[in-house]
């Protein structure tokens, strides 16, 4: 048994920012991470982070209020307006702080942080470091975590929450390097484990973006909010779904169909390629569905050639390398085949603006959480912002909780590790089944089911069939076994345990989507094509149940921005 006052699960931007904040508050905090924190998926973010700094000459009139309005409009009015206002108000300060900590943002000649236009934004407010902003921000926070001497347990894989008397008391985790399960006990836990992109076969996300933190919170009875809202990024590489940043279009790139037409003129005539992601992804999918994909195939072109080699080298060097290495196409000389790809989980563990979940002692931040600031559709550049703003807030709130808690502190030395023992017994049971049901076959069927039945366009019969398939897959997971029972770095065990959680999280998406009889943001139904504010201006709350998710709803916090039809 290991004890710290506060355990942060996940070493990406949200988790590290929470840990740095807690350390500053004098809390004994430790970070648990499945990978070295510098390898977290935050580092794959490319285009930038939004804040109304008004550095761009064309953004001189920008303000946090305008940023909040764009965020709420982009969310199709499902975001909680108080949270969006708080986030955009915090934004300039947290960005200056990251800069003071060394983040190498790109610069203007006047020596200020450079900002580029992004989709759905009224002003160019996306601060960037070339097209590697996530990598730069992540390494800056890793460096700060080392500077503050924050304890990091690296390659430790969390599998379960410890909940006693209705209070979160820590996590059980597998030590990948030494083998075996350990109890990490704490007075509070911050979950910051990222999204669940890997529940879809066609995702931009890292292989570790499996929704692990969402799953273990959900399995402990914590609700997942708005899980039906899945963002498809308009531009993933055709063969691998690797991300081509929205910055490609922010810098002036075109989307082109088989007829050589900039087809966004039909879908968003004013802003063209800089429409929000939900609208742009649907536009591409519509072109493909109507036979105007390139050569009749399932992709269109992202054309950057007119930007010229110099601008691409300066602003978009990373995606040029990715296109060359992974698609065999040099954007300087050829258009890039792209396809909309699962990119972001708008929903997540239900939290308030301070990261608190309904379970006392459990906090969450970043993509695994749902505050909600993204509502039904997240704007590009707002996810990096969310990680840092709400990572900081969750770290502060968890610290205050820990300080105010009576009866905290380390459990008696030599106390048994009953939760870890139960986890170890479960793995023994899996091993005892021999190979059992093939976890990898189930995983493959799940990812295809989610793409085909809960993709960009949705409809009742298809979703019902998809939900039935998912429930059947869940039933099969109860018969999964293990092929390998060895002690250290046991990928077979980790990926089998992980799969059970992925199915639970994906089921929350499936059930929420089927129930929501309207179209809003990323949730586009062909059988209910319009938004229905009368019945559906509310958050979905999914609770785990014996026969699948049980859905409840709670109201959206409205504010100064009256819900209107979204037009761009």
């Amino acid at each position: 048994m290991i004890y710290h006052q506060l355990i942060v699960v996940g070493g990406g931007l949200a988790g590290l920012r929470a840990a740095v904040e807690a350390r500053q508050e004098g809390i004994d905090v430790a970070v648990l991470s499945q990978v070295h924190p510098g390898r977290s998926h935050s580092g794959a973010a490319q285009g930038g982070i939004n804040a109304a700094l008004a550095n761009n000459p064309e953004g001189a009139d920008d303000t946090p209020e305008k940023h909040a309005f764009d965020t709420v409009k982009g969310s199709d009015y499902l975001a909680d307006q108080d949270a969006a206002i708080e986030m955009t108000k915090d934004a300039p300060g947290v960005i200056y702080e990251m800069e003071h900590w060394g983040c190498p943002f790109s610069r203007y000649d006047d020596r200020r942080i450079a900002q580029r236009p992004f989709g759905g934004a009224g002003f160019p407010r996306t601060c960037y470091g070339a097209d590697k902003t996530g990598h730069y921000l992540l390494h800056t926070l890793v460096e700060r975590a080392y500077q503050r001497g924050i304890k990091m347990y690296i390659e430790v894989f969390a599998t379960q929450l410890i909940v006693e008397d209705g209070v979160c008391k820590g996590v059980v985790a597998y030590d990948m390097i030494k083998g075996g399960f350990l109890e990490f006990r704490a007075d509070a836990v911050v979950m910051a484990t990222g999204g669940a992109g890997r529940t879809y076969i066609n995702t931009t996300n890292a292989i570790i973006s499996t929704g692990g933190g969402m799953a273990i919170a959900y399995q402990a009875g914590v609700p997942l909010k708005d899980m039906e809202f899945i963002q498809f990024h308009p531009t993933g590489l055709f063969t691998t779904n690797i991300l081509m940043t929205e910055g490609c279009r922010g810098e002036g790139g075109y989307l082109i169909n088989d007829q050589g037409e900039r087809f966004m003129s039909k879908y968003a005539p004013t802003v063209m390629e800089l429409a929000p992601r939900d609208i742009t992804a649907r536009a591409i999918q519509t072109e493909v569905n109507e036979g105007r994909g390139i050569g009749g195939k399932e992709f269109v072109y992202l054309d950057l050639r007119h930007l010229g080699e110099q601008k691409i080298a300066e602003r978009l060097p990373g995606i040029r390398d990715l296109a060359i290495h992974f698609e065999g196409v040099d954007p300087v000389t050829e258009p890039v085949p792209i396809v909309p790809s699962q990119h972001y989980t708008m929903g997540g563990i239900d939290t308030d603006m301070e990261g608190a979940t309904p379970l006392p002692g459990l906090y969450a931040a970043g993509e695994c959480a749902c505050v909600s600031v993204h509502g039904a559709n997240r704007l590009g550049g707002n996810s990096l912002l969310e990680t840092i703003v709400f990572g900081r807030r969750a770290g502060a709130a968890a610290s205050a909780y820990v300080k105010g808690k009576e009866g905290g502190g380390s459990p008696a030395a030599g106390a048994a590790d009953p939760a870890a023992a139960r986890m170890a017994a479960f793995v023994e049971e899996l091993a005892g089944r021999g190979t059992g049901e093939d976890a990898y076959a189930i995983r493959a069927e799940m990812t295809v089911t989610m793409k085909e039945h809960f993709g960009i366009f949705r409809e009742r019969a298809s979703m019902q069939a998809g939900l039935d398939k998912m429930l059947a897959l869940k039933e099969r997971t109860t018969r999964m076994g293990l092929r390998h029972t060895g002690g250290v770095f046991n990928l077979d065990m980790m990926r089998t345990v992980e799969l059970a959680g992925m199915i639970d999280v994906a089921l929350a998406t499936a059930a929420g989507a089927l129930a929501r009889t309207e179209s809003r943001g990323s949730h586009a139904r062909t059988d209910y094509a319009t938004r229905d504010d009368k019945d559906w201006l509310k958050h979905t709350m999914a609770y785990i149940g014996a026969d699948g998710p049980r859905l409840e709803y709670k109201p959206v916090t409205l504010g100064p921005f009256e819900p209107r039809e979204r037009k761009y």
Binding site: H100, F105, S106, R107, K132, A206, I242, V488, F489, L491
Partner: protein, 239 residues
């Protein structure tokens, strides 16, 4: 369907037998990266195989390995571009092993931490950003792209023979901060690389720059640090 043949170095500390190689054949359609091949093997042929992975887009630094006799990221290595009948996959050489393709990175990160890899400032921070010109920022382009994959460290003969040498990745990180116009470390970071564990152990063999899968040049950064350290000793100036 085309097939790729893998010849993979295996090691399990609990088995009692030493390192050996196993062969696997992986069918594929279209294209196949080495990382995808490893997943196929782990899922279908041998559940005990282990390796590191995360982003599969050459930005996280998890899957640096020794593939067909060169340092590469498994995710960025398409089997079509590898010559030879079988693809030889080995962990980063000269590193202690955890299991199979997973090596022990403890010393690597301990050395990284040694050089104080963070922006050091003594002045009060302004309300807004610290000013920096595009030219000053450009000096950071090369070193800030480091993904800490460990390929350079594993390739460096000075690391192999001098166990306490900090190695190219840590020194490149020191360079990244020393060259940053906002950094005010002055003498604070210097003692950690201007010593017998630091820059003077680099004999400009430049294996690191050859090995780097991001095509960075740690050798260049280390020479800059050497010049800075000598200047500091002779004239009392660092930059």
């Amino acid at each position: 369907m085309p097939e790729a043949r893998f010849h993979i170095k295996r090691f399990d500390p609990s088995s009692g037998i030493g390192a050996h190689y196993d062969d696997f054949t992986v069918p594929y359609e279209g294209s196949l990266t080495v990382l995808e091949g490893l997943f196929y093997i782990q899922e279908h042929l041998d559940g005990s195989l282990c390796f590191r992975y995360c982003c599969r887009a050459a930005v996280c630094g998890s899957c640096a390995m020794y593939i067909d006799g060169r340092y590469r990221l498994a995710c960025q290595s398409n089997v079509r571009h590898l010559t030879g009948e079988t693809i030889v996959v080995e962990p980063l050489p000269h590193m202690p092993l955890v299991k199979d393709l997973v090596c022990d990175m403890t010393d690597f990160f301990a050395k990284y931490e040694t050089i104080k890899p963070w922006l050091i400032r003594t002045s009060r921070d302004p309300e807004k950003e610290l000013p920096q010109t595009p030219e000053e920022r450009k000096k950071l382009d090369m070193p800030v792209d480091c993904i800490l994959c460990g390929a350079c460290y594993s390739s460096c003969p000075s690391v192999w023979t001098e166990g306490d040498y900090l190695g190219p990745a840590a020194l490149l990180k020191a360079y990244r901060f020393e060259v940053d116009s906002r950094d005010e470390a002055r003498r604070e970071r210097l003692p950690y690389f201007d010593n017998e564990r630091g820059v003077y152990r680099c004999h400009t063999i430049a294996n690191c720059s050859e090995a780097c899968p991001k095509e960075l040049n740690p050798t260049e950064g280390i020479q800059w640090l050497k010049r800075a350290a000598v200047r500091r000793r002779l004239f009392g100036r660092l930059k």
